[in-house]
Symmetry: C2
Subunit: 468 residues, 2 copies
Amino acid sequence: MVEAEPAPGETPERKVRDEDGAIDARFLEQVSQAVLLSDVTALRKLVAELHEADLGDLIEALDQDERPKLISLLGNDFDFAALTEVDDAVREEILDELSPETVAEGVRDLDTDDAVYILEDLDEADKREILDKLTPAERTVLQQGLDYPEGSAGRRMQPEVIAVPPFWTVGHTIDFLRETEDLPERFFEIFVTDPSHHFVGTVPLDRLLRSKRPVSVVDLVEDDRRVVQATDDVEDVARMFQRYNLVAAPVIDAAGRLVGVMTIDDIVDVIEEAGDDDVKQLAGVDAEEEISDSVRQVALGRFRWRFISLVAAFISASVMALFEEQLGKLVALAVLAPIVASQGGNAATQTMTVAVRALGTGELGGWNMARFFRREMIVGVLNGVAFALITALVAGFWFGNPTLGVVIGLAMVATLIIAALAGVAVPLVLDKAGIDPAISSGTFVTTITDVVGFFSFLGIATLLLRLS
Amino acid sequence: MVEAEPAPGETPERKVRDEDGAIDARFLEQVSQAVLLSDVTALRKLVAELHEADLGDLIEALDQDERPKLISLLGNDFDFAALTEVDDAVREEILDELSPETVAEGVRDLDTDDAVYILEDLDEADKREILDKLTPAERTVLQQGLDYPEGSAGRRMQPEVIAVPPFWTVGHTIDFLRETEDLPERFFEIFVTDPSHHFVGTVPLDRLLRSKRPVSVVDLVEDDRRVVQATDDVEDVARMFQRYNLVAAPVIDAAGRLVGVMTIDDIVDVIEEAGDDDVKQLAGVDAEEEISDSVRQVALGRFRWRFISLVAAFISASVMALFEEQLGKLVALAVLAPIVASQGGNAATQTMTVAVRALGTGELGGWNMARFFRREMIVGVLNGVAFALITALVAGFWFGNPTLGVVIGLAMVATLIIAALAGVAVPLVLDKAGIDPAISSGTFVTTITDVVGFFSFLGIATLLLRLS
């Protein structure tokens, strides 16, 4: 990224990020030194003007014990908004170390949505202690955000909005904006509400600016009135933003009253997280696992899924054990069986991943299910036959046994067709049953393909090679 | 999503989407009927007022031959912006069917970035034919966009921007906005440029609205001047938008002249696609594969990776074949060997996925590499020991052979440590070498764990069980 001028707080002598966009090693070293020496002057000079995103990444880069120390040293110069930019584990650790007074002082200056984000994961007692340090007015607005369910729009919205009555003109509105001191830091639209605060419509700022002063705001209201309910799931809201290219949307309560606004910068994080969750869960990693989690958290989180997969592996092995006699008579079977199983697993994983992701982004549903199913089955058969032929030829020549080639070929066709079927059916059935297919499809699907792979290969071998 | 009123074009008798957000089956049927009967009046009533996103999804839901027919029937009432919302394969198919005149007429009314998006994937001859139908002015602006490299900000930016000279006041600027007819459809900020069109700064609309008329625009310019180079990769731009919570950013050319603006709605799609690409590629599916691709495209796309994985499977099998004698003597080895290999594969996949995704989002780099490596190795050892004990116990009891339990336990420890090592090292090395780790890590890593799993298990068995 080329910048017309150094970013704020960045001087020729001080480079905050290296070419890859990571915190620059030399800069990190300087900050670390200043923290170690408790050199407040140097530290302030280094970090006081950083963007919250840079400050957040810097905090993550520091050692665990340097993080709260940096915040204490900076005092009021520390921008708590940086804590919204760090991993959950890092934030919790830091908040544990800081006094409730410091945290209360820090969140007081934040936008409400940022303050709620920082406080929401604390346990009830800590949360209460911090809220008690605030003024009643500050406390009420934070408490309202925290009262909405986790993962809802109410938690992520900004309750400070600019709402004007329908009878105001453009001129009146502009004068109001010029004269009011305490406006939200950044806004893209103003809202029109009736006297009982019910939502009437949205006026984007560019419309306001294009219109002459006597025009009534209600005439500028957008036709397209997409609104968010405060209890809506943020992932649904994200899908709506993405589908209709929204930058902001009004949030209303059950009675239709305007309670806040959601903006795209919060939504962007939701969209990235959703993709992130699918990637991780498909690989058997907790969606919550973060790059800065401790060994303990990671080891425990991964143990659970690995245990299930171990049980599944023993189930597949017990299918193989059914054919001990045949395996003993022809060792080539033991060598080739894992190939059939692993190829089935790969084919099923391809199909399953496409299905899971398409379900996740809402691309798969209703009308195109049947089309998708048919396509995957045809691809399964085509690739099944192609790979059966290749495998049959290689295996037949390798062991100088053409019948063994025929056996593995037939087993591959059968396994790859079942793999396509399982790859489509398992995620769809789980999704219908209300279970997140990203989390659970993988183990089901590979267990099915392992069992089918071993059973078909060894079963067909028993029949055709007269091994029993 | 609850809406205060039915969405535009949606009446109580006509529901466009069902509860899951997919195109409603009854609505689809009605549209399909109207297309079949060439009933233009009914069709216009059904779809003419749809949002481009709904129209795009509707087009995807129609059968292949109904799609161009719908567009021809609607004529000038068809909003070509809907074609930016459909999968690439669907768009290409439709554009092939339509005459160059129809396409030229359709893209003429679009925002430049949408028009470029629709035209960019056409082959040169088709593109030329369509551009030739436009006026020289229209053609020049599209050609400028198309001349930027694929995947660059220049391709995705909106070249129509509002730029004012530094000496203008707020009042002058507002008057200009009120009097100019041909402003961009939607904008969030205005730009200040010097007489030679060099970028000076950005003024968000809310700043303009808060300020009194005599204030000079140059005094309202944001301190934080993040700009995009037209040749920057859109994925890098997306990362910058996400990091600094941007809604729009000016795009400049190599000489520092303002050439356009990138807005968050384009960036959102880039972010989702990056997540999507990682998910698919980790499962051996082409990043370009889309839910509406044909059987042929899908079968060919998946064949390549599957072929590589088959070669890898034969390599692993040939390691097993080294121990034919031992396998023949003790069939339990054949039953248990796939367990060791598959557990190694699972552990490595967990680590690898976390690494690939963290590299993709820029969370892993520089300072935290060493920390991540150490953590993954410790987790590998801990889980290795835990799973070794479980597997050893189960296998020892199952086959009534305690030494066999010890063998599989030792093999598991060895395999899981190598798995952790490979899971971290392979993506990092590929990334350093400039190869996308999402595409290629999987096959490398599972081949390593299969080979190590089979070799360590059968090798240790040979030593401890005196099988040779």
